[in-house]
Symmetry: C2
Subunit: 406 residues, 2 copies
């Protein structure tokens, strides 16, 4: 008999049930934003690939400029000009200089740059240098930024916009990323109708298919909607079986009434190579959550209530997707705010309260979002969650709280 | 003559140059994640559409249960059972009850629910109620969550996963959102080669096209790459002209050398119905940034240096995209950290320093990311920026700093 688990135990059970990360695949660099690197990304080129000036000015031998000054300029013969993107065809010798633009290659023989504002041009063949330059001044040497073999981004890194530039800089047109897990989504309930059906009688629209679909996209998975399934054992079993074959994980929401609650559990238990690992969590909302494996694939039985289902999605499913992708845990988006109302103590279980953030003169305020029914108004209004510990006696208005942003 | 502007002045000039927001278009709800609502979203239905039970139990007349208790149960005749999604065909009268599952409709005549655990079933036609129920107990009335005409999400709201569920709940299969601005991206420089070219001589790969492309996607725009343009006035002018016709805004990066720097400005000035509004900002990095309009469309001349270009993108281009979408400013992703090294004073201009975040025992540390060349290693390593005020004398190691996450 499975007992109700604390959230930390539940998270442990879920994550340790994974048999491995998703296989890798190649993605074009322009489509790789938000994808997870499958392997360490190592440089295969020098960056830059040549000694490069960081200023507009003159390439010189530093020793030619030692001791010079405004009243005693160093007189260096200008022997040429380097063009952007073209390798200089001559070097410089003692007493000479060559014009090099920012980003241009330093010619052979030169070991320093003099910025153009410290070189006078009187229209003759010389440039008059008025400030000494130290060896290496204003030069980036070949490989200074990156040398071949260097690990530039680590496996598990989630690619940001700037990383896409890094990939391009290193000549990667394609990149090895983890394949997105296909996430099957099934909503159960005789009372459910689709978004484009007209409501008749005691029906409600299917909400979970949509929050979970969008949530899966945001989490880096590829959602697949299997639609609404009536509370019928055989129909649901066939649908679950099919979805488990086609997907990498499965979310079945609904079945909040007593009889139906057991259906999802029974189906997970009865399909071959499957089993329930978790039934019930000591958390509000989301207590009746079920977790198990079908053919080694994670399956969640989520509450039917949209607010509860979405909370469990954020708290347990998102981290699972992160783990399936082998991705590093992202930095949590937390923000400090002042609680705007008393929150009564919970009853011995961890509780999460939806809050709306309001910018007031004294700072950011967290206003609890209730709603007797809380079908959708809570979803629409909440900016994040506050966590209330299971042993907490309640929180008072004015307390500083951590809001986990949605 | 345009003078170098403070960042606050620059932001003001850029935002006030906009003539309006993007037009609206219809998006399917499953593809609307991250899009910006064009208009207030109002409910066109009641949610729920009927009086609904929030528990499994018995619908009763509350007055029938007054005064009952474990030793004096109220004996109510069970006259039926409500099925999910189906309108009850009979009501209840005094002395009667009807079974209703969670989410089922309350039958006519009933005004309270009794939870199943407070009703004994001895196998006869009665249920024995052991706890009084107050009128309205465990019932969500029609429209309790939302009534037709209520504004559920405001214009300018950026749709999150839970909002997609809200749309579905309200029967919106399509939603009016702001069209994504088409953002043309041009990289200029004779030294640039593409990601799949082989490097020859003093060439570097085009990085900005890729960071800006991905950055535009992340910002909610639709990027269009126009590729690499050599530092040639006529070629660039034609390309800019074409891109300005096809796009809603334009980013031209590069042209960091003196001669070329003026090219972008000259082109913006010379094209018909256009002009430069901003040339230079008192900020490091990104001083040489140009901003203007071509045919009323925003055009940025960004620095060629990838770190500078990406900084200006985040600091000025992203907020412009937000404004073009008529979107609400998102809550900034800021995090407190302890500075790990001294930062010298800047020279009378606002400065932004890239930092890497490291979780240490004492807390989160912000480690400045330098790099003499900083072509790509800074991009790869930075997690965010620290701002140093123009009048700041520098920051000491150990100082608490605000890190603006990338």
């Amino acid at each position: 008999m499975l007992t109700v688990k604390k959230t930390s135990e539940a998270a442990e059970i879920i994550l340790s049930s994974l048999s491995g990360t998703m296989p890798d695949e190649q993605a074009p660099v322009t489509l790789a934003l938000g994808r997870t690197l499958a392997f360490d990304l190592t440089a295969k080129e020098f960056v830059p690939d040549f000694d490069r000036s960081t200023v507009d000015g003159y390439a010189v031998m530093a020793s030619d400029t030692f001791g010079c000054g405004e009243s005693t300029p160093a007189m260096l013969r200008l022997t040429g000009e380097v063009e952007m993107g073209i390798r200089p065809n001559t070097g410089i010798s003692k007493g000479e200089c060559v014009y090099v633009p920012t980003g241009g290659e330093i010619p052979q023989g030169a070991d320093a740059m003099v910025m153009i504002e410290y070189a006078e041009d009187y229209g003759d063949e010389y440039r008059y240098i008025m400030k000494p330059s130290a060896p290496g001044a204003h030069i980036v040497y070949k490989g200074d930024d990156v040398k071949p073999g260097k690990t530039v981004l680590e496996a598990g890194h989630i690619l940001r916009a700037q990383d896409i530039g890094v990939l391009a800089a290193l000549g990667y047109e394609f990149v090895d990323v983890r394949r997105k897990p296909r996430a099957g989504i099934i909503s159960t309930g005789d009372e459910l109708v689709g978004v484009n059906d007209s409501l008749r009688g005691a029906q409600v629209r299917d909400i979970n298919s949509y929050t979970l679909y969008a949530g899966m996209k945001a989490a880096g998975a590829e959602p697949v909607m299997y639609g609404i399934c009536p509370d019928d054992y055989e129909t649901l079993k066939q649908k679950v079986k099919q979805a488990a074959l086609e997907c990498d994980l499965l979310l079945i929401s609904g079945g909040s009434s007593v009889g139906v609650k057991d259906t999802t559990q029974k189906i997970i238990e009865e399909l071959s190579d499957s089993g329930v690992l978790l039934h019930g969590m000591a958390v509000k909302p989301g207590k009746p959550t079920i977790y198990g494996l079908i053919g080694g694939k994670p399956v969640f039985g989520l509450p039917g209530h949209p607010v509860s289902a979405f909370f469990i999605f954020n708290k347990f499913v998102r981290p699972l997707i992160t783990a399936m992708l082998g991705a590093k845990e992202p930095i949590e988006k937390r923000i400090k705010a002042t609680l705007a109302a008393n929150l009564p103590s919970n009853q011995g279980r961890e509780e999460y309260v939806n809050v709306r953030l309001v910018q007031e003169e004294k700072g950011l305020c967290a206003v609890p979002v209730y709603g007797k029914s809380g079908l959708i108004s809570v979803l629409a209004e909440a900016d994040g969650y506050i966590r209330i510990d299971r042993d907490c006696e309640g929180l008072s208005a004015g307390a500083e709280v951590d809001v986990l942003l949605l």
